[in-house]
């Protein structure tokens, strides 16, 4: 591997040449996120170029092995790449549940065939993945699932439904937790299977949230065909894979507690919007809550970095992801509450010019789901109590 110092020099030069200028500005709206996939429409030629260039280097998934299209970088080189991207304010070229969730699970549990088949298209942003975990009425009790996988000799068929599929209407493939043995005890008899969402018998219906948006769907399976080689890990051993995948999801969600890159610190926003009086925020009672949030957010960032360093040194993330999930989502909710308070009456506007078409209140409402999705806060606290603290 290139020496770190050389890697930095070369990487910097490459980024300078290959990152379009427009891709070096902070994200303005959710529409600026590049999710890739068959149905994705690029917002601009620059957005597409940036994805292509990065995918070619394998830097959309820089830590994955080169044989599956990844960048093959170790922790030290990864950090350098992050720093250099941060230096020029480069946007992430691709947001992807393929990279953050199913990819790591395939790398750890998938057959060689599955890796070869799925990882390279993920790296290239060609296939967008949807998550099929929750079911209606199951809620936090994830393992009580009912979607049924039946063996039909040379293939399986799937019946049932899932709920809370993020952007299910835009997904190409789904990784889906199903019951493959209804006789087995609750946590046995579960499998993680993959299938194309264009398969006949798979359909979706959007769920409208209190924010007025529909980032989730329900997904229905009516005798949908699943190929036999699309089981991740062993049949009926999917709960293990699912739990591993959940730790990645939790850590990812926990990141919502950090200040979004490119966004002004809360205190500065408050000073700008509310004004100062003798150097202090004109709203003195708000100051303390803002300071506490900023400190906690900084502390979470330091803690996630520390955990990454420890993982690098051989520790397992495991239940710690529950700590990040819990704290990160609490912080994002507090942050959204404070943004509402900072913007005052303008924050109520559902459509007017002051609030950029209600972006602020919609983000505030959306954040309430943070402590529910990906395992409720209560579930995370249970996990911490049992698996970290060892309480009975």
């Amino acid at each position: 591997m290139t020496q770190p110092k050389d890697f930095r020099t070369q990487g910097r030069a490459w980024l300078e040449n290959n990152c379009p200028a427009d891709m070096r500005s902070p994200l303005q709206t959710e529409a600026d996120l590049c999710w890739g996939g068959r149905r994705f429409r690029f917002q601009s030629a620059d957005q597409e170029t940036w994805l292509r260039n990065m995918a070619e280097k394998g830097w959309t998934a820089p830590g994955w092995p080169r044989e599956y299209g990844g960048g093959g970088l170790d922790q030290e080189h990864l950090k350098i790449l992050q720093e250099e991207m941060h230096r020029i304010g480069a946007r992430a070229p691709l947001y992807s549940f393929g990279i953050s969730m199913i990819g790591p699970a395939l790398l750890k549990y998938g057959s060689e065939k599955l890796k070869q088949q799925h990882l390279p298209p993920i790296v290239r942003g060609e296939i967008r993945w949807a998550q099929g975990y929750s079911e209606p009425n199951a809620g936090s009790d994830l393992a009580s699932l009912q979607a049924r996988l039946e063996d039909r000799g040379d293939h399986y068929v799937l019946n049932g439904s899932k709920i809370w599929t993020s952007y299910g209407d835009l997904g190409d493939w789904m990784f889906c937790l199903v019951r493959s043995d209804s006789e087995a005890p609750k946590h046995g008899g579960i499998s993680l299977v993959l299938f194309d969402m264009a398969t006949p018998g798979v359909s979706t219906r959007p769920i409208r949230l209190i924010s007025g948006k529909s980032p989730f769907t329900e997904t229905f399976f009516d005798n949908a065909r699943v190929e036999k080689d699309q089981v991740v890990g062993e049949l009926n051993n999917g709960w293990t894979v699912a739990k591993y995948l959940l730790t990645h999801e939790r850590e990812m969600i926990g990141g919502s507690g950090l200040r979004p890159s490119g966004e002004e610190p809360l205190g500065r926003i408050a000073a700008r919007v509310l004004g100062l009086e003798s150097g202090q925020l004109a709203n003195p009672m708000l100051r303390g809550d803002i300071a506490r949030l900023e400190i906690d957010s900084e502390a979470l960032g330091l803690t996630m970095q520390r955990a990454r360093d420890e993982v690098k040194a051989g520790a397992s993330l495991g239940a710690t992801s529950s700590v990040f999930k819990y704290i990160g989502t609490e912080l994002n909710m507090r942050r959204q509450e404070l943004l509402m308070a900072i913007h005052g009456l303008a924050s109520l506007d559902w459509s007017g010019p002051d609030s950029a078409a209600g972006r602020l209140p919609r983000a505030w409402l959306r954040s309430r789901g943070n402590s529910i999705e990906g395992g409720t806060s209560e579930i995370q606290l249970n996990i911490i109590a049992k698996h970290i603290l060892g309480l009975p």
Binding site: S140, I210, G212, N283, M285, A341, H343, S351
Partner: protein
Amino acid sequence: MLQQSARDFLNRQAPVKHLRSLRDAGGSKGFSREVWAEMSALGWPAMAIPEEYDGLGFGFTGMGIVLQETGRTLTPCPLLSSAMMAAAAIVHAGDDAQKSTLLPGIASGEALVTLAFDEHTHHRPGQVAATAKRTAGGFCISGHKRFVLDGAMSDQLIVSARTDDRVPDGRGISLFIVPATASGITITPCQVLDTHVLADITLDDVRLPAAALLGAENEGLAILEYALDAGRIGQSAELLGVALEAFERSIAYLKERKQFGVPIGSFQALQHRAAVLFGELELCKSLVLNALHRLDSDANEIAATASMTKAKVVETASKATAEAIQWHGGIGMTDDFDIGFFYKRARILETMLGDRYFHLDRFARQHGY
């Protein structure tokens, strides 16, 4: 009795699905004239208006009880803007002619009057840039008022404007009664979070007779603050209703919804959070009752009471409605389910007329620290 009859009426004629249907119909009305006519027939807008002006003379306590019930059903109506705040200003400071002209209409519900005072994105009633200049026949007002509650549906506006630049902040402000149809007025409705409608109002050389002045010239801020405090107490009553309803619905859900084979209400962590919240709501009930009584008995001392009450009720209602979503889980996040409307309504009520930070600060200042 009043509480039960109000509750029965609202559950029958204007439950949460009434709000939902108003929203889904779109438009810029914000409330239903039909429902308002029925409320008026029940005498609700007349409650705090003296009998000599066709009111019932019951005072604000009864109004608070009704507002608490409209909070439970999230029913939008101009009770707070017209029958509580505007009425309070007119009863408190109006001359006989103004009272005779305006109060009977407010009492019957046929006339709507609202206060137009905020000019910033934050509630700062003392910061007034709108001006009222003396003319031969009276005054000429220009300015820009924002976030006016029921501003697009009201017949008369009570507008704050600066009549004297030379006196320091807090004085030099006067109130004027302005017909919404007066020449020079432009009203732009703006829909907020949960379908309530606020208005942006510009006044461009609006000419008024001398008789439009409400209360003494340059002394309008004190009148305004009194009316706002009445409004803050009314809001607190409404918020209490919002919080209680969200809490009770959630407790019922905790008993009914099962997970891991048991009702989720059997989990002790949720039980304790529910118990703590119950205690906070008990405190809020006492604060609201106390504030309404004070408003009826001791009108000159209500500023600290209003801020104390609103600060506490807002924090509790915000907590109660957020917990309500959390306890409902995923379904609580969906638009199909009603609980999210409580969270939205609590936010609107918090933000208008001063949020928790505004009132904590005001409470501390009023107590000399």
